[in-house]
């Protein structure tokens, strides 16, 4: 276990030298804060329609600081709520895939032999599925719910992490402390949970940081196809899509959500890169190749 801590310490010192990642992390923290608390400071509700303020430009005097959309709804509040949905979809869907992927990969790697071969064969099978098409079908056929988006995206994404984790597990498995536990009669599940999974932390964290933005983009893609969250709820993807349609007449409808969306993607990518540089064991060994 000490090893993990020292890894994290190493990572932290490496990360703290990476300015871009640090700034990104701070920005992201501010953004989450804003998205959670922002709506409290606005007098408007997410579904409140003002018929006299259709597609009004941003203005401080009337409190619509981001302007209003084509139904006279406050765009600031909608952007904040949209952020909650987008970030939540990104995080939850990623966590779903991490949970499936880590467990699957760790089990396969740890068991080894025929079970491993079989399990990885199954991953190969799933790799051949045009998954996004399945997601579209699911959304078209069974209606849209955030829950379904989580499951659908999460179920698509776990394959990569399963492969990575399996590889890592194979590596770790050979290490002394695992052998020691084995000879000490500790059960398989316990070994996996106690010794293998914590050691995968680095890989997983990097993976999460790089997957969240992808998932957010997938959600916006679904919004483009009209398969996003149910109105009056919204997401950054849905807002950007709506704004893109009216970018000439009401550019603010595109601009504000797009800035939030792009900034988030920016930040997650920088954080992910920073974490990878700091944590990825592959890169450390490669230096001595």
């Amino acid at each position: 276990m000490k090893k993990t801590n020292s890894l994290l310490n190493d990572a932290w010192s490496a990360l703290s030298k990476n300015k871009a990642a640090l700034i990104s992390a701070a920005t992201m923290a501010a953004m989450v804060f804003m998205v959670l608390l922002g709506p409290i400071f606005s007098p408007y509700a997410i579904d409140e329609i003002d018929w006299s303020m259709i597609a009004a430009a941003p203005s401080f005097s009337d409190g619509h600081i981001f302007g209003t959309d084509d139904l006279g709804r406050d765009l600031f509040v909608r952007t904040m709520y949209g952020g909650r949905i987008s970030l939540m979809v990104g995080l939850v869907a990623t966590l779903v895939s991490v949970m499936i992927g880590v467990t699957y990969g760790a089990v396969a790697g740890f068991m080894g032999g025929r079970i491993d071969a079989l399990m990885m064969r199954f991953v190969d099978v799933l790799y051949a599925m045009p998954f996004l098409f399945f997601v579209i079908l699911l959304m078209v056929f069974f209606g849209r719910s955030i829950f379904l988006i989580f499951i659908a995206i999460g179920a698509v994404n776990w394959l990569d992490i399963a492969r990575i984790v399996r590889g890592q597990t194979l590596n770790i498995k050979g290490k002394e402390f695992v052998d020691a536990a084995k000879t000490g009669g500790v059960s398989t599940i316990k070994i996996i949970m106690k010794h293998i999974v914590p050691n995968l932390l680095g890989v997983v964290v990097v993976y999460v940081a790089l997957t969240v933005p992808q998932v957010i983009l997938v959600e916006s893609f679904l919004s483009f196809l009209g398969l996003g969250v149910q109105e009056p709820m919204t997401s950054w993807g849905a807002l950007v899509n709506q704004g893109a349609r009216q970018m000439e007449s009401s550019p603010w409808m595109l601009l504000f959500p797009a800035v939030f969306l792009a900034t988030t993607l920016f930040c997650f990518n920088f954080i992910g890169d920073g974490l990878r540089d700091a944590l990825d064991p592959k890169d450390r060994t490669r230096g001595n190749d």
Partner: protein, 553 residues
Amino acid sequence: MKNRTLTIMLSIFLFGCGPNADNENTPKQKLVIGGASGEELAENQVFRKNNGSDPGTLDPHRAEGVPASNVLRDLYEGLVSEAANGDYIPGVAESWTISDDGKSYRFKIRDDAAWSNGDNVVAEDFVFSLRRSVDPKTLSNYSSMLYPIKNARDVVLGNESPELLGVSAEGEKVLLIELEEPTPYFISLLTHSTTYPVHPPSVIEHGSSFTRPENMVSNGAFTLEDWRIQDYILLTRNTKYWDDKNTTLSNVYYYPLDNPDASLRRYRANELDFTDTTPSEQLPWIKENLKEELKITPYFGSYYYGFNNTKPPFKDNPELRMALSLAVNRTIITDIVLGAGQIPAFTFVPPVKEYKGIQPEWAGLTQEERENLAKDFYLKAGYSPSNPLSIEIIYNTSENHKRVALAVASMWKKTLGVETKLRNQEWKVFLETRRLKEETEIFRGGWIGDYDDPYTFSELLHSENEMNHSGYASNDYDALLKSASLKPAGRDRLNDLLQAEQIMLNDMPVIPLYFYVSQHLIKPWVVGLEGNVMDHHYSKYVKILKSETIASE
């Protein structure tokens, strides 16, 4: 047996004065536009239309939906055709007579009517085609439209063989059609693709692939040159067409762009001359920048919200239904949410020819008065702000439906405190949910008349109609419809329908919201089109004027 000979003039008489001279309050907007460079025709007579989507098939008897009808109108010609303004004019039939009892029609087919391969169009072609149209083996979606023809229902339902259909040829050029009942709108059915002739030899030879460009033989002003799926349909002038001397265009393109924003962009880039619709949230921009090219005409359609009258809370609760209807501010929906000039609706059937629905009393109130009335009804129905109703609106995925649903939900919330959830479903899922009446509470409904007669709307709320998704069942309503269907055209029949609608509006099984308009963007160099209530446009009337800006394809 004395037959009244009806020339075209008389047939127009029969229908009031055709859709043109009807209503005083909706003046006909003519879309005729003079191009900037005068009357000089462009060299390149190509007309490029967006059609909204691909037709599923170009077989006139199996086709379904507006996009297919648009193309088929250019490819084929029925016994009756339409002028640019929508008046009925002779098509393949140069004249017709109607028997005194109104139940048999005798058509004289033009001597010069020809197929695109040079064959003569004869009465037997129509016998073949109409039989094919009702034959259940043809798998026609619209065969039920032909039920007015004698024995058609039995043939469609598989009880009789198609030979028993009341259609027969009297020699080469005379066609006799017998009806079950006098059907005052029968002539208008003959402009529908279900009644178009198909070329018997090529149908027999090629089977279902007779619709392929290389096989298709048609009798309209154009022939099918090419069909690239999801790309375009290209028509070429049919030189064998009897009225070819009056055709100006050499080619028509139909593009299947389903994304109205993409369609607008391509229109602005001069890649389209005509759009099927306009995206409503872009209307303010269009009105500002393309004002002269935006053409809006009343369209024979009604947009409504239906209650599920077979389940609580709406079953046997007219007060609640009335309250929700009164609380909707229709002017906001037509003017702000949609903004294309839709007409606020307080009745269900759009005005058509002599038919003008009787406005209910509350239509004359101000919105504030209506809302007060709504609150009273709401309380009477057993709800109050502290005990609010919560319901769900189901609509099919579309930008406009979403906007209307959001608006209505916010009005109910504001006036009555009703908690409304929105649920959008894909078209096919929506159709099934609505049909089953299990989950629906309130659903979006819309109907475009199949022919220009109020009956096409009235029958939707008949208790036995499959398309009556509200589950409305009123004996009085059904009886009046029955009575109307036995009467010949005229005031008496219309009065029955008016009375039926009044009964229905008292029960309020659906909330009428607005009457449709058709919205097109049309380039200034396109002339010859006129607005009409069915939104039927024939390319044979179109000419392209000279303009430097026409992009060559």
